[in-house]
Amino acid sequence: MKSKHVYTLLGFLVVLSMVLTACQPATATATTQPTEAMMTEAPAAATEAPTAMPKSDRHGGWLDEMDFSVVSSDSAIAQVKAGAIDLYSYQLASSELPAIKDSGLDYTSSYGGSYSILLNPSVFKDTNVLNPFSDRKIREAMNWLIDRNYVNQEIYGGGSLPKFFALTAQLVDYTGVVDTARALEAKYAYNMDKAKQVISDEMTGLGASMGSDGKWQYKGKPVSLAFLIRPDGDGTRKPLGDYVANQLEAIGFTVDRQYKKSSEAAPIWQGTDPADGKWNLYTAGWLPSGLTRDEKNQFQQMYLPSSIQGIQPFLSNTNDDPEFQKLGDDLASGNFTSLQQRHDMMVKALELSMEDSLQVWVIDQKSYSLYQPNVSVTYDLGAGIESAFMGPYNVRFANKEGGQLKVGTNDLFTQPWNTIAGGNWVWDSFVQKATAQGNDLSNNGGIMGDPYTGLAWPQRVASASVTVQTGLPVTQTLGWVKLDTADTITVPSDAWVDWDAKAQKFITAGEKFPNGVTAKVKSVVVYPDDLFQTVKWQDGSPLSVGDFVMPLIETFDRANPDSPIYDESSVPSFQSFASYFKGARITSTSPLTIEYYSDLYYSDAELDVISLWPSSPSGLSGENSWDILGISNLAEANGELTYSADKADAKKIEQTNWVGGPSLEILKKYLDQAAGESYIPYAPTMSQFITTDEAKARYANLAKWYSDHGHFWIGTGPYYLDKVFTTEKTLVLKNNPDFVDTADRWASFSQPKLANAQLDGPAQVKIGGGATFDVSVTYNNQPYAQSDIKEVKYLLYDATGALVDSGEASAAGDGHYQVALTADQTSKLTAGATRIEVAVVPIPVAIPAFTSLDFVVVP
């Protein structure tokens, strides 16, 4: 009997221990009590140790091999720590930051999306129900109700950035208006009393009254707010929503917390008329768009009824002040003639957006990728490792050439791979980028996107010039582009402007526009003299002019109903392209020289260089030779395969997949057919650039490649796709020793040159007296070159935290600037503790450095 009790007790203890273990919270969540305001500066940079710039005469990438496999983000930290993988290239949320730091591993830090509280702006149809957020002043007051620093520290591990505006915190456009931004951040800093006062006044004005229970009442019923809180995703929106709900309850609102997944919440906040009153607040999340240099469209996109979002909350925000509406639309449409005018408009829009507050922005999240201390990576400051065009070029073992790197990521082969209308998942595109030449944000191949500034560098371009229409606000930063202006840019009559799918010939400007046509931008790119001798496809075929022409034909042909590969789903994106494309022509094939005419322009001349390249014409990652496109087109024309998922579903056929599945055998069949016929696609045009002998050689090389590697994914980049295992979700990349560049080509970009700023000065300043503060700017403890610093701004706050003055610091040498406050400036201060802040804007990276110093002002 005694032993029976022992066994019962033992069994009970086992179950209890398991239950307790299972119930243990994964991470600490927010509590309701806000803490004191904390610093709002950028989190410390990633923990990379500085290394000397490596040199190499090895061609291709740094590594011998990269083995990719799928690793769950839940076990990523443990797997890197255990040495099972060397690098987890997918990004972890900032809520994981404490665990990442505890692991002692190295990590990258980049922008990872933003969160806001989206407010329903409509007056409800049911007149007995009050929607407080139909009142703009209550929406504005929500800014004072939310302690963004508290949210950052408690929910996001202190690793993210408090966000007040639609502009990405501390990125390029934010930096341009930093004085206004900081002043507004001071104005809208957490202030519960002020929020309560403003909301109370407005609620009373709307006819509500405070009940004896401390709750707002309207027409005899409590004012209840339906709050859609998302518990899914990275899990941070739930504590964020709970925090905001607590704050609302603290000032007298009754909050109906509705925890709903994305799929459950979207039909309510997007799918219902806001005036139906199904919701009042929603924890919105917005994806990062990479290292965006131009965010002028954000005001229209994030607040106005003319928003590209086109969904109900925006469409219903019709009670904006007309000034904000016009300003947002003008900025989005580029209705300005100088950078100064643009700057002034941005400043005004920033102020008006806070008054509108359709969305109350809370956090610009940071995301992190992990790697072993013996690994060196290059990552995009805006979107991480997998989005960096330079990423695969620079990833390496520190102080070592070669080696086998094990990379884990979130998934692989999520959708079929083809460069025309295949999948575009970031983990797949990381692999695809490794097989290709660089690309920039404007989708120009052969040009390398700068991961730290969003600008671009020439990779396979010998020289480039850009001519813009006089009056367009375009500047250049890096100096490799020749920029000039012209009153009128006329498209030459022999430039290709359209495509005749029946005749399979380009239509020239002279044929289509007998009276002439103009463009806003002309780009001329001259490629290297030895381009066709040095650059080879990984199957051994040399690059040819046909490879450059084919993607342009593909763009037109797929959207033309007369084409055998017509695809209705390509029409909307083609219409976008057609809205700005004005013409292109090849003026020389030795060296290859291509002119391009467009109405689309960026304010950075580097991004206005349009280099035709045999890369995806749809903006996907990867390259495409004319021969692989040719056999894929044959399969599509014969109704056996098709590039897009839409057409595949409509025709009930397979989507073209160059790396696996039933597509491979079909493609092989058409490869054999093409080889047998020495097939030249679009012969009336392409035969000007391709000979029969070249076609034969191409198909022979492609067939051998397929025989050796079992797939059709071929590029010209530093790594080639050696093996693919789709069910096992793993693949092998190997070094391409025939790649034209050496591995160290982009080594100077191994690490972001993030500036570190320090401020020193008097602890006490007398009102009406002068004061000088010294700013020290360093990188890796070395002075930051003055030529690499665009400007150093200072911001002077008074004892209440309000901005009283701002200006530019003067240079006093490399890494040394001075702020000299005059008697007039100190006269504006009041006695008490005050603060001076500086923002250092470096050129090599898009993220400024902030620092501040407190001092005492005495009468």
Binding site: G334, K406, E568, G661, T727, K729
Partner: protein
């Protein structure tokens, strides 16, 4: 199945009493049983369709997802930023309409639901809405077939080991009722309250993260070995943790169940009688205990075989095992009704066939059972 026939007088010409013949009885029973099972399958499948679509509400979810995806795609194209908002809206609406047509949202759910049903019943699995197979195909047949071997390997090895291991150990324990091992199994049986993935996480922490002797997950090393033997060994290495998790999570309760089951049968009067007659314990176990329990054992085994098809949804996810469980999980996440229905209908048919066949197997192994006798 009973082989009895009615005896007839030799002197009279044989006259078959069709109304009471075994053949007719079995035939009648079979038809009724098959019709009943078919109706059950139809109802179960249609209920699955309704549940998978939340009675049609999923259409609303998908419409919103489509608009969101297309809008985001438009936003990411710089060319669309400067476009006239009306033109842009027109383009978005056009793309949304195309996509809604592609996934079938232009057809009312009521009609689509019966189309799903008829396709499923005829095993015309068709194409997925959003999911693709690992090799990129939307052919549901391929989506299933690519994952089937991995699931059969994991579930087959673990469940067969669990089943035969449990029955064997239970038999041994039932012979030694009340000893230390018996009590230990009873004490540990509550551990089966925890699901396999719970053990999986612990196993990963211990054997992968801490001891570093086994992999965290996946089915094979990266890159997979070229040599077939090495490949098989690599798969085996990856199979250990998920397989062990599946076994250990059910082992003690399963042993406890079987042991109790055998104990009940071993205390029947006819067993006591056999013991009193002095029969050898082995004979008693084989003829007096195991044989009467055979229908139950076979039923359990047959149902086990068809559950291999379903995979282990969360365990496969924890171990990133490329099996059908994860496919099912993804299909639910994507609201991909054709895939959900495809997996369900195959399970439903397998279950119906198994249930149908079991009736005949009972009759074969147990003389007391007569097919269609109504007893």
């Amino acid at each position: 199945m009973s082989t009895e026939t009615l005896s007839t007088p030799v002197s009279k010409p044989a006259r078959v009493d069709w109304a009471n013949s075994t053949f007719l009885r079995v035939l009648r029973y079979s038809v009724v049983r098959l019709v009943t099972l078919f109706i059950t399958t139809v109802i179960a499948t249609y209920l699955t369709i309704l549940i998978a679509n939340m009675g049609g509400y999923v259409d609303e979810i998908m419409r919103n997802q489509i608009r969101e995806q297309i809008t985001q795609a438009m936003i990411s194209n710089p060319a669309n930023q400067n476009m006239n908002p009306d033109v842009r809206k027109q383009l978005i609406d056009q793309a949304v309409a195309q996509e809604e047509q592609r996934v079938g949202l232009n057809t009312p759910f009521a009609i689509r639901s019966f189309r799903y049903l008829s396709n499923a019943l005829t095993l015309n699995l068709g194409r997925a809405i959003n999911m693709t197979s690992d090799s990129g195909s939307k052919d549901i047949r391929l989506i299933i077939l690519e994952r089937l071997p991995a699931t059969l390997l994991l579930m087959g090895s673990s469940q067969l080991l669990l089943f035969f291991g449990s029955v064997f150990i239970a038999l041994v324990l039932s012979r030694n009722y009340g000893n230390l091992w018996d009590k230990l199994v009873i004490a540990l049986s509550p551990t089966s309250a925890a699901p396999p993935w719970f053990y999986g996480i612990f196993m990963i922490l211990i054997f992968a993260a801490l001891l570093k002797v086994l992999p965290f997950g996946g089915m094979v090393d990266s890159p997979p070995p070229n040599n077939r033997v090495d490949y098989a060994l690599s798969v085996l290495k990856h199979l250990i943790l998920p397989g062990f998790s599946l076994v250990i999570s059910s082992l003690f309760l399963s042993i406890y169940n079987w042991r109790t089951f055998f104990l009940i049968y071993s205390s029947e009067d006819y067993v006591d009688m056999a013991r009193a007659k002095g029969l050898h314990p082995r004979d008693i176990e084989r003829k007096y205990i195991l044989r009467p329990t055979l229908p139950n054992i076979i039923t359990n085994f047959a149902l086990l075989l068809i559950t291999l098809w379903t995979g282990a949804i969360i365990t496969e996810t924890v171990f990133l095992w490329p099996g059908l469980g994860r496919t099912f999980y993804r299909a639910i996440g994507f609201y991909d009704t054709p895939v959900i229905v495809g997996l369900t209908i195959i399970y439903a048919y397998l279950l119906a066939i198994t249930v149908f066949l079991l009736d005949f197997i009972y009759a074969l192994v147990d003389p007391r059972v007569k097919v269609g006798s109504g007893k």
